[in-house]
Amino acid sequence: MSPGWRLAHVLRDPGTALGFTAREWTELFAVARAEQMAGTLAHRLNGLALPPRVQRLVEDAIASAEQVRQAALWEAEMARRALAPLGMKVVLLKGTAFAAAGLSPSAGRNIGDLDILVPRDRIEEAEVALLAAGWEWVKPDPYDDAYYRRWMHELPPLIHRERDRMIDVHHTILPLTARIRPDAQALLDASEPLENGLCILSRTDRQVHAVAHLLADGDLAGGMRNLWDFHCLIRDEGTQGLAERARHHGLGREMARAGRLSHALYGTEVPPEWQRLTLLDRLYLRRMTARDGWGRGSRKFTRLAFYVRSHWLRMPPLMLARHLWTKYRKGYRPVG
């Protein structure tokens, strides 16, 4: 079994790790760290009769994730205070939303930037308020800035000058250049308020967003983590009304694929029509679990293929060519 698959098996059934050799434990944590899932793994293992050294790793990862959660919630509160006078709907997304609402993907989950969704016609007001409250632009390049504003689903990223934390202010959940155009107004209309006045997406929209993020955007980097979010949401909240809602947002195909992948990787209980993998699904799984025993990316060709696909999803060919040409002239070279 590959180290990536082994992580999936342990997340699914932590008891299987109890017979691990020292080397298997070592590789398990290396892969979990690379996938930003050390805290998640630790929460799954906690309470089992673990070897003392593993117990230490588990305790440290749990403490570390707790600190991450606290800092993320504080960041959400800072944004709330900055935006509250505007009286607009502010919807927390992804990790911060899970943590704020106490949803199960948040147990041990790493949270990077603060992601929020606001109404598109009021996004400039939100930007002005955030700038006044100490957030600053981090993309000094005028082309990058213009690109974000014209084509992306979010403002250029802002970083707070004192806390050094990034906020992504979205007006929808996929780039405007993508072929799929989710219904952003419906996301806002169906969102649910938390006690502090911030909102989170509705049950089905949370799952739709997890799927959009995983399968309709990006190159599947962090795929195991994003699919774990999906798995936890389905496990706790079921699949009722999910397919219809996904179709409404143009993400029906992606939703079905997420269901199949999650069933295969994490054993998620899903309707029978989501239980058979296609050939292409197997390629997705191959990409998602592409880690060696040191946590380094393996399967270079598969990775490259998904990298190319991510750009294909993101923009039409002519636009991609123009974008790459502009970037090239500015001295940008792809790394890797």
């Binding site: 403490a63 600190q67 040191w294």
Partner: protein, 285 residues
């Protein structure tokens, strides 16, 4: 990874993988008396960015469980330094059990003297010379403060001696085991000194912090007390994980600066530096 070494240094275990034999061979020789962890806390990768760069103008990239972007690679001849930097990087970026202070430390009778300062202040040199004078070396790079107990834990990796300090330490420790001379590193000439047997045998024993020193090399001899407020601010800057530990970090640091006397010391040469440290220790320990 092709070549692998396991090392336990104080409470932290490492697995170091390398595309080349040489850095691992150097580690195994110099760390031969250290225990090997069964399951490490951190992984370090020493790798070639492209397969052919293993042989053609080999350059060592430093990675691991935790990495920073754009870290400059090192030439293969400095593989030992790359391994040390890789281990330090994991500690600096991801150690969360202890408050990490960028400091050297020595111990006597269960009491620790902590010395912190900018690069070139003489942390490593003073620690090496105090070891030569019978102190137990706890570390020349990081001191680990346990927020639960306030105790200092040792991290006695190889002592990293730079430039003129190499000859000084050679003279003080004629029997000492030294690594190869690494000329022309980003920090000048470097030579590693293996901590003595006692430092390795007792590396799992913590000590109670008893004196906090802020040494500066190359100034006329002087000393002044450092108030807790100033020590606190300077130590927040000397800690790589203070912010991440949040309240635990604040509590550990305020407890340290309130309970331990602190002195800033300037010294023109190592002899007077050592004399100053020992006089102040006499009073504090």
């Amino acid at each position: 990874m092709r070549h692998v070494a396991h090392l336990q240094i104080g409470p932290a275990g490492f697995r170091i993988g390398s595309d080349w034999r040489a850095p691992i061979a150097a580690l195994e020789e110099l760390y031969r008396d250290y225990p090997k962890p069964e399951i490490p806390d951190f992984n370090v990768h020493l790798f070639a960015a492209r397969p052919w760069r293993r042989f053609l103008r080999p350059a060592i990239h430093i990675g691991g469980d935790f990495t920073i972007p754009d870290a400059a690679p090192l030439p293969l001849a400095q593989g030992l330094l790359a391994a040390e930097m890789g281990m330090n990087l994991q500690m600096a970026l991801a150690q969360r059990r202890y408050l990490l202070l960028h400091a050297s430390a020595v111990e006597r009778n269960g009491k620790a003297v902590l010395m912190t300062g900018i690069s070139g202040a003489g942390k490593s040199t003073l620690a090496a010379l105090l070891m030569a004078r019978g102190w137990r070396l706890m570390g020349d790079e990081f001191v680990l403060i346990d927020p639960a107990t306030g105790l200092a834990h040792a991290f006695p990796r190889l002592i990293s001696l730079k430039n003129q300090a190499i000859a000084v330490a050679r003279a003080a420790l004629p029997e000492g085991r030294f690594g190869p001379l690494l000329p022309g590193t980003p920090k000048g000439d470097i030579r590693h000194l293996v901590p003595d047997v006692r430092a390795i045998e007792k590396m799992a024993e913590p000590a109670e912090p008893a004196l906090l020193l802020f040494p500066r090399f190359g100034f006329e001899a002087a000393e002044r007390p450092v108030p807790p407020s100033e020590a606190f601010v300077r130590l927040t800057q000397a800690s790589t994980n203070y912010v991440h530990l949040a309240e635990r970090g604040f509590d550990a640091l305020t407890r340290l600066v309130r309970s331990v006397p602190a002195r800033a010391i300037d010294y023109p040469d190592t002899d007077s530096g050592i004399a100053l440290v020992e006089v102040l220790s006499e009073a504090a320990l």
